[in-house]
Amino acid sequence: MSDANLTATGKAPGLEGKAGGERPSARASGLSFGNTWLRKLALPIALVALLGGFALADDRILTSYNLLNIAQQASYLALFAMAQMVVILTRGFDLSLGPTVSMVSVGAALAMMGMGGGEANGLVVVAAAILAGFALAVACGLFNGVVVALLGVSPLVATLGSMNIAIGVATTISDGRPVQGVPATFSQTFYTGSILGLPIAIVIAIVVGGALAFVLSRTVFGRSLYIIGTNPQAAAVAGIPVKRLLVLAYILCSALAALGALMMTARTGSGEPNLGGTLSLQSIAAAVVGGTSLAGGRGGVATAVLGALFITILSNGMNLTRIDGYVQMIVLGAIVILGVVLDRLRLDTR
């Protein structure tokens, strides 16, 4: 899509759309109103079908224990997918998300060690971890945002660069080894604790998802992100401070990733310099499978969460039905392609 083309065909971006995809994108304008419901319900239906199919193959799938397990696993990926979705909305993406997770994990664990680990006051230790983690993440997000928005470097190169930097920082400060000795209070706060019987990870994901949905659909900041993604020129002309909001979007992305990183650190019980691993691409896959458009301006909390649920259910089901790990990689690849192809077909149906 060239910019010139978008200027020519892109309409003034509407504000009526919710997190889903009611608004026609520039590409699909005019064809997709009749299929709104189909588009919205296709993935939930696929989710139910997937669960049903696996349930026929193995009766442990639909036990409440396993469902809770799925929800808990999905809440991590959902957070990362939401983070990724925020920048994808603005036509960017964040390849440094995974290494940021590693960096935050190590940094938070080191901060807790520095504060005295298990012996010190629990609250102080947890506060130190949160502070250190978010400081690192905000620094990374600020770097991404400044390089993308102010220097005009493409998000791919900018975050490819910060990805390398974050990997370097994570392995340097940890000496390449896991940082042991995460105190119990921290695990309690971010992993083992529960509220109203729900594991804390699910609660955090729900609260953050709700807050983010509110921000995206009801605040000037959120709505502006959609406009920037739909048509950057129009956004600039309309007086939206595009550069500042882009920087904020990248910071928000990294901050959400940091929250997920703290939760994962609490789960593993140590700061891991390679915790992030493949999370960058996984989070992009989840966001896109859920229906977030890489062309920008289309997507929301719902698309990120649905995508994360879909991938989690798929891998949980394949694990329980003992499908070979290598075959799972092939299936995941096929699903990613199928997801976008279906999205495309739904848009094209007249």
């Binding site: 899509m1 060239s2 910019d3 010139a4 083309n5 390849l95 390089v147 220097l151 005009g152 470097v153 493409s154 791919l156 190169v157 900018a158 490819l160 660069g161 910060s162 990805m163 390398n164 930097i165 990997i167 370097g168 920082v169 392995t171 340097t172 000496d175 390449g176 950057p232 020129q233 600039a236 493949t278 691409l281 992009i284 896959a285 896109v288 890489l294 062309a295 070979d324 290598y326 075959v327 799972q328 990689m329 092939i330 995941l332 690849g333 096929a334 699903i335 990613v336 392609i337 997801g339 976008v340 192809v341 495309r344 077909l345 094209d348």
Partner: protein, 341 residues
Amino acid sequence: MSSATTLSTRSGHASSQEMLHLVLRIGLLPILMAIVIIGTSLLSPYFLGWMNVVNILRMASFLAIIACGQALVIIAGGFDLSVGAVVALASVVTAKAMAAASAAIGGPEIVAIAIGIAAGLGSGIAVGLFNGLCVSMLKVSGFVVTLGTMSAAAGIGLLLTNGIPVYGMPNSFVQAIGRSQFLGFPLAIYIALAVILAMVFVQRRTLFGRYVYAIGGNQEAAVVSGVSIRPHLVGTYVVSGGLAALVGILLTALVGSGQASLGGDAMMLQSIAAAVIGGVSLRGGIGRVEVVAVAALFLTILGNALNLLHIDSRIQPIFLGLIMVLAVALDEFSRRRTARV
């Protein structure tokens, strides 16, 4: 460097800007490279040693071949995330096919070698064909399609081998292709030069190459001008997959076994980095493979220099990241005023 010329005509005659004009005209890449080469050769006696130079050129050859394909895809407005996985897949397929053929036929080794190479190249071209067809027929973004095929190709490679290296290739394959030298240089360097020259010719002198620029520059305008988009888009992905497979085969010959761990995400990201540092615009329509090849050489030299200067391997990525961003930011800055809002 037409953008540099427009800029120089526009931005005044002040003599203080002569330096800037020079930088803009020859580009930042050669200057950065000269700095790295001179600096490192002063600090390390091994850097300009024959062994090290040959080693740098060999590693740069692999990267340059892949980056050429990647550049073509990006110029057409796409992306190929699957190249690293294709390297692994082609390595495994080549080794398996060659081992099976030499065990079954037993005759002259050249037949088995040919079968193996054909199978390896075929696997890469097949992945490229799939990518291209998905992108052009279904109009899905190349980023997502190749993200999918990346996972699938890596999975197939691991599934075929269970993660264990594949041996049993004829010895002459390893000797002839992986370790033979001609005029003191390994064969891979000549192959890379041939690929780069061929790609330069394709870009400059063939309809396919010109149409790829047209499609990447403005797809609608290309359609209106009567360019059929589909075959050309498919072509770019097929070339990219084929070149990635070629590197897989060369690496297999070098290490002497088929391994699903060759290539991988690192190589894919490096190929994109080389393309972008080499001036290929991610918005499509702009870029020349010979500059991309120089960028591949630059990245390889940089990595080598950091090693020789005993920079802690854990800090090296920080350097690479900063330099990558810096190079592109300066490049973007130098042509800032040309077209973009």
